[in-house]
């Protein structure tokens, strides 16, 4: 088996695999951009280009509002999580207080709790405080991220302690050490975890589905699932909605792919 042949074979296999895994998304795009008439014709004439589905979608649904909500939630969670995770990670990495590891272990234990088991009590808890059916009900629980703290701490542990000692000798407070040394130096890991948080939140489904009742608070995923229930058979419209939901994430991926790919690698090695 020559080297060239092997290369071509693997190229062939990869292309074939891509058709299978990427196929559904391509099919989504084709359907979304086909005119509704061509879709309902029999046999359907796929690929007859038109933006009709998107026009109908933007006129009929609140999809713009849902996108804004999704963005609000994702951005707010990402921002809050990044700050809190960084602060906590710094506290664990640089602090020398009693019970540090014990608290950290308890925090790590929280990583094992699957979302479904706390879902119901959390719902009752939030109902009691009148937070159901508001974006707060989605944002607040998502801010807790033991895994994020864990990841950032691992990274901060590798920052030499001498740097902060030198700063302290120069009269810097702990907060200044955090703000001017640890925070900027941890940027790469904060960026990676931030991007993943953003994507996870953008794609979150089960919890928003339970807590959000009014259409104006729907996030995109919840909105789309209702759209699917409303327009059972109008697949052109549904695929247009799916396209609009997927596009922002593709953009995020294109801009930040380096951080994401790097971050995955780092995460794997730890």
């Amino acid at each position: 088996m020559s080297r060239k042949f092997a290369n071509q074979l693997s190229l062939l296999m990869l292309s074939f695999g891509l058709i299978l895994t990427g196929g559904p998304l391509v099919w989504m795009l084709i359907t979304a951009f086909t005119s509704p008439d061509a879709l309902s014709a029999s046999p359907p004439r796929y690929g007859e280009f038109s933006l009709e589905n998107f026009k109908v979608l933007l006129n009929a649904g609140n999809i713009l509002r849902w996108s804004i909500n999704s963005f609000l939630v994702s951005a707010a969670v990402t921002l809050a999580q990044t700050i809190f995770n960084a602060l906590a990670a710094f506290g664990f990495a640089a602090g020398r207080f009693k019970g540090r590891e014990a608290i950290f272990m308890v925090l790590l234990a929280a990583m094992m709790v699957p979302g479904q088991i706390v879902m119901l009590p959390l719902f009752l808890f939030m109902a009691k405080w009148g937070m159901i059916d508001s974006l707060w009900s989605v944002i607040l629980p998502a801010i807790a991220s033991p895994f994020g703290v864990y990841m950032v701490r691992q990274y901060m542990d590798s920052i030499p302690i001498q740097m902060s000692e030198a700063a302290q000798i120069d009269g810097a407070s702990q907060y200044q050490v955090f703000r001017h040394i640890y925070f900027p130096l941890s940027m790469p890991i904060l960026a990676t975890s931030g991007i993943f948080t953003f994507i996870t939140q953008w794609n979150a489904f089960l919890w928003p589905l339970i807590t959000l009742n009014s259409e104006r608070y729907y996030t995109l995923t919840v909105g789309l699932s209702t759209l699917q229930d409303q327009q059972m058979m109008d697949f052109g419209l549904l695929m247009a909605g799916a396209t609009l939901a997927a596009v922002p994430m593709v953009i995020v991926f294109m801009f930040f792919s380096r951080y994401m790919l790097e971050g995955m690698r780092k995460g794997a090695l730890q």
Partner: protein, 748 residues
């Protein structure tokens, strides 16, 4: 370092833009509220399409709301659009959690009335107003001498027949629209003969699903009833079983498709209304409108076939708007006015577009020149009222899925019906208690957790240690939103806590969970899913990563990105695409099969296949993350190993199998375990692809946890099932820790 500072500058810019967008969105969201303005919330289901509309089924109510706002200055009405599939569920969740709208649609809301959430209309209507209603319509909303809603329209289910197919087959349509089961059977058989050779064509289509009573008259053709005179659920009576046996006979004779038990109303409607592949089908009154306008057809409505009993078994239902209680009397008064306005005699004339019957005499005979509606009215007059009980949804779900199972031949009909009757009668025998009051209490254990967290917080703040204070936000939030509810969940799992029954501590929940056929099926399915999907995904990732690793430059980057990309799309998006691909009638899979001249497959409608479709959609997921991890691990394999293999003349495949694969063992274990943890929590696919059906064939654990909590409001049972899942995940996590340690030893 210069690289890093450029990175930092880039990220700063990115976060700045994000922040600005965030503020912009906030400004849009927080639109200023004019003070002194009353905001009324109304929820409604999709109604008819007004002329010129193609998708928006809310234009009528939107217009009426505007009219109402004009009549009542200072009042703003906000409409929330529900869906027929999940609207009832959403309304229940909202009402139980105190987030109810002011006005909501539907039949008499018995559950909410029991929870004392609904305001009777008696004080808001006078004698002349009352006398305008047809007595039956008011009766439908009456509970213990009070009327709990404004009746809007009356409707029911009918049997529709396609006159053209009947004529082409040379079959007479029944005189007066009446026929016996035998007459019906022979008519159907002659149509069957006529349809011979036409693929996917059948004389009749049936569907049995939650919230759909349209086809029950077939099962009740021999006098079977859902509730007998003693108030007992009696679907296991001889007469009822005879009806089921008759439907079975229809199936045996290929008058209905073999997978009828798994079909949905949508499937049947598409086949009957859009594609004219069925000669008959049962639908709500809305079908008359649809067949006149959107899907023109030469049709008529007829009686359901009757066996020994000569009574039409179709259901008659009354729907309207009801108003939730509120301490603000002015608000209630305005909500009442809104509900009355929407259901006024004048506005009921618009029901002509909805093909439903008005409830008020002052609406007049709006169907005088409509032969089909006149016929429908006559048929429905003989019908029976929809069974009204707040516990019905719970029974309904069990009943329909047992019926599906029986018709699919998964269970003997008699056994299935006896089991469901036993459960239903147990549900019916329980005296009701209020659940909402109890929600306001919190378990002791959870309160202790809360107190400890607060004490710790105070301690941290008092200690004046910067580091300790810095970890406070993350730890508090984790405590509040993870440990506190976890403590509560543990308590809930051991409490009898469901709608209509709020009791003490018990382990009954676990016994019920294990005895619940749906949960057992869910566990089996979840295991099956994990056992197939996880290894498949990991293997794909390994192969793809190996192939990509051998590539160079641009091509490598392209494939790496292209394989990762679908992974950033949400499960919801991908599942929507899969539902489109798997659609029985127009999906890609079946279109391709038909094109190849093969018989189409009921990807999501055949109970033996549906879960495999779910699995298939799981297998064909992007191998993104796992692939990247493999790529990273491969970079760590010393090249000297390959070089020495080269010297021995090993081919690429042998090198891969004997060097790459074994050395990646640790990564494989890691991916298998994290994959298994994720796979055990599969949910969105099932909810959106099949909704747990057909029958119970695609139940999975999280879906069952979700439905038992938020559809049946059986919080104790739901928590018990979640706890079982939690333990399973814990075991796997601990196993991971164990394997990881072994791995380290091996490397050392």
């Amino acid at each position: 370092m210069s690289f890093l500072s450029r990175e930092v500058a880039n990220l700063k810019r990115a976060s700045k833009i994000t922040g600005q967008l965030l503020i912009l969105c906030l400004l849009i969201i927080v639109s200023p509220q004019v003070s002194g303005e009353m905001l009324l919330k109304i929820w409604d289901f999709p109604r008819w399409l007004e002329p010129g509309q193609t998708t928006d089924r809310f234009t009528w109510i939107t217009r009426k709301i505007t009219e109402f706002e004009r009549l009542h200055p200072g009042v703003r009405v906000e409409l929330t659009k529900l869906t027929w599939q999940r609207g009832h569920e959403k309304l229940k969740i909202a009402a139980i959690s105190g987030n109810n709208p002011d006005v909501a649609p539907g039949t008499v809301p018995l559950l909410f009335i029991r929870e004392n959430l609904i305001e009777p209309i008696d004080d808001y209507i006078d004698k002349t107003g009352l006398s305008d209603y047809f007595p039956g319509a008011l009766q439908a909303f009456r509970v213990k001498e009070r009327i709990y809603g404004w009746p809007w329209y009356m409707g029911g289910q009918l049997l529709y027949i396609n006159n053209d197919i009947f004529a082409a087959a040379g079959v007479e349509t029944p005189v007066d629209g009446r026929w016996t089961t035998d007459e019906f059977f022979s008519a159907m058989q002659r149509i069957k003969d006529y349809q011979k050779g036409q693929h996917g064509h059948y004389p009749l289509g049936l569907y049995f699903q939650k919230d759909e009573t349209a086809n029950l008259p077939f099962a009740m053709a021999f006098g079977g009833r859902l509730i007998d005179d003693a108030g007992r659920f009696s679907a296991d009576s001889e007469d009822f079983l005879k009806g089921i046996a008759w439907i079975d006979q229809l199936k045996e004779n290929k008058i209905i498709p073999a997978d009828s038990g798994g079909r949905t109303a949508n499937d049947i409607w598409t086949a009957f209304g859009r594609e004219h592949r069925l000669a008959a089908g049962a639908f709500g009154l809305w079908g008359i409108n649809a067949l006149k306008t959107k899907f023109p057809m030469n049709f008529q409505v007829v009686h359901f076939p009757t066996g020994t009993s000569n009574k039409n078994a179709s259901f008659l239902g009354t729907s309207g708007f009801y108003v939730f209680r509120n301490p603000d009397k002015e608000r209630v008064r305005l909500a009442m006015q809104l509900a009355e306005f929407l259901t006024s005699g004048e506005n009921q004339r618009d029901l002509v577009h909805y093909t439903q019957f008005p409830t008020r005499a002052s609406a007049g005979n709006i169907y005088a020149d409509d032969p089909q509606m006149t016929a429908a009215w006559k048929i429905l007059q003989e019908g029976q009222s929809t069974y009204a009980d707040s516990r019905w949804p719970q029974i309904d779900e069990e009943f329909e899925s047992s019926l599906q199972q029986a018709l699919l031949g998964k269970l003997p009909a008699k056994k299935a019906m006896q089991a469901v009757c036993e459960r239903a009668n147990r549900i019916l025998s329980v005296e009701s208690g209020s659940m909402k009051d109890d929600i306001n209490q919190s378990s002791l254990f959870a309160r202790i957790v809360a107190v400890i967290s607060i004490l710790a917080l105070i301690f941290a703040l008092l200690s004046r240690q910067a580091h300790l204070i810095m970890i406070v936000p993350a730890v508090t939030i984790t405590g509040l939103f993870l440990f506190y509810p976890l403590a509560d969940a543990l308590i809930l799992a051991f409490r009898d806590y469901r709608i209509g029954e709020v009791g003490g501590y018990t382990i009954d929940n676990f016994i019920r969970a294990i005895g619940d056929p749906k949960f057992v099926k869910a566990c089996k399915n979840t295991l099956l899913y994990s056992l197939i999907v996880v290894p498949a995904n990991v293997f794909t990732a390994l192969v793809v990563a190996s192939l990509i690793y051998g590539m160079k430059g641009r091509l490598k980057n392209f494939f790496r990105a292209a394989y990762y990309l679908p992974g950033v799309a949400s499960v919801v998006v991908l599942t929507m695409v899969w539902r489109w691909i798997f659609n029985t009638e127009v999906g890609l899979c079946n279109t391709t099969l038909r094109w190849l001249g093969m018989a189409p497959i009921g990807w999501l409608t055949d109970p033996d296949i549906a879960f495999w479709s779910v699995i298939l959609s799981g297998i064909l997921k992007s191998p993104g993350g796992s692939m990247l991890i493999y790529l990273a691990s491969m970079a760590n394999i010393p090249t000297s190993l390959y070089e020495s293999a080269d010297l021995e003349g090993a081919g690429p495949l042998r090198k891969w199998w004997h060097i790459t694969v074994p050395l990646l063992g640790g990564t494989t274990t890691f991916l298998m375990i994290t994959g298994a943890i994720a796979a055990l929590q599969v949910f969105a696919q099932v909810l959106m692809l099949t909704d747990g059906g057909p029958g119970i064939s695609t139940q999975v654990v999280v879906y069952r946890v979700y439905t038992s909590a938020f559809r049946d409001f059986d919080f104790g049972l739901s928590s018990a099932m979640a706890l079982i899942l939690f333990i399973a995940i814990m075991v796997i996590t601990v196993a991971q820790k164990y394997f990881a340690r072994q791995e380290v030893e091996y490397l050392a």
